[in-house]
Amino acid sequence: MDEDIVDLIRAGRHDDALARLVPAYRRRLFGLAYGILRDRAAAEDVAQEVFVKVWQAMGSYDGRARLSTWIYAIARNAAISALRKRPRATSLSDPDVSAEAELAEASSQAPESDDPQLWRLVETLPEKQRQVVTLYYQEDRSTEEVAEMLGLPVNTVKTHLHRARARLAVALAASEEWAA
């Protein structure tokens, strides 16, 4: 698939390449941006911006890096840049209050989910663990693919995933015990 797109780019058929690229990468880029931004509208903006940047930069793509690696690098930079530009809604000194406010903000942006309890627990995971969980479970990706998307070593991704699952399992068990 990527090879066909690279051929189109090399042939200067950038519009055709973009037409093939969008369905292939839309969910991946949205997931990657969402993992970083935790905001659907912002993630969609970033995904659009990344496609535009890729389309504009196709002339300079020399094929030295894999197409996916190149696109993911652009996407990570765009998402991090959007995150930096985003004004902080809360500037609370009390960490508990601040964490609660962040959780409330995240819950308000959660996708329509029939498992809000698990969603809230995912939101409390450390940043990298949360990103790995999002990308891993979004489309049943391999740890290798998640590693490429996040620009991390595969073993680091495996460690984040293992810790996140263990943490979620303990938290779920505790909340179910408390509910019972």
Binding site: D15, L18, V22, P23, R26, R27, F30, G31, Y34, R40, A43, E44, A47, Q48, F51, V52, W55, Q56, P111, E112, S113, D114, D115, L118, W119, V122, V133, T134, Y137, Q138, D140, R165, L168, A169, L172, A173
Partner: protein, 141 residues
């Protein structure tokens, strides 16, 4: 890890998969992107407004006139300085001839040439560089 834990993990995986299954851009993403790209393409293809073209032409003409004027002033200054130098040397010709004769007598003509030649080359080099001429190009180096 016991069977209960494994079962709990499997259940967690299923719930996480279900939780993230719907994570995607809103419908119409492709259409919105196509509109954005079309807009950018139109911006690129749009010619510059006539007023902008005239402004750029005026700025270009002004810059060219300024460079021409600066070049004329520099040329005039160089000519005056050169003439002054020639007149000064002309005034000093007897003294210089006397000095040259004395130096030739004491050190020999070869030593004078040995000292004067690099000086002449350096002077020539500086003058040529001043007029953006590469002396190496003249000698084919």
């Amino acid at each position: 890890m016991n069977a209960e834990d494994t079962e709990a993990m499997r259940s967690l995986d299923i719930r996480l998969r279900r939780l993230h299954a719907g994570l995607d851009a809103r419908p119409g993403f492709e259409d919105r992107l196509a509109a954005r790209v079309a807009d950018l393409r139109a911006q690129r293809a749009r010619p510059l407004p006539t007023e902008a073209v005239h402004r750029i032409e005026r700025e270009y003409e002004r810059a060219r006139a300024r460079f021409d004027r600066d070049a004329k002033v520099e040329g005039l200054l160089l000519a005056v300085a050169g003439l002054g130098g020639v007149l000064a040397v002309w005034q000093l010709v007897p003294e210089l001839a006397h000095l040259l004769a004395a130096a030739t007598h004491s050190t020999g003509p070869a030593a004078i040439a040995f000292g004067a030649l690099p000086l002449a080359v350096a002077l020539m080099w500086a003058v040529l560089r001043r007029f953006d001429v590469d002396p190496r190009a003249l000698v084919g180096a």
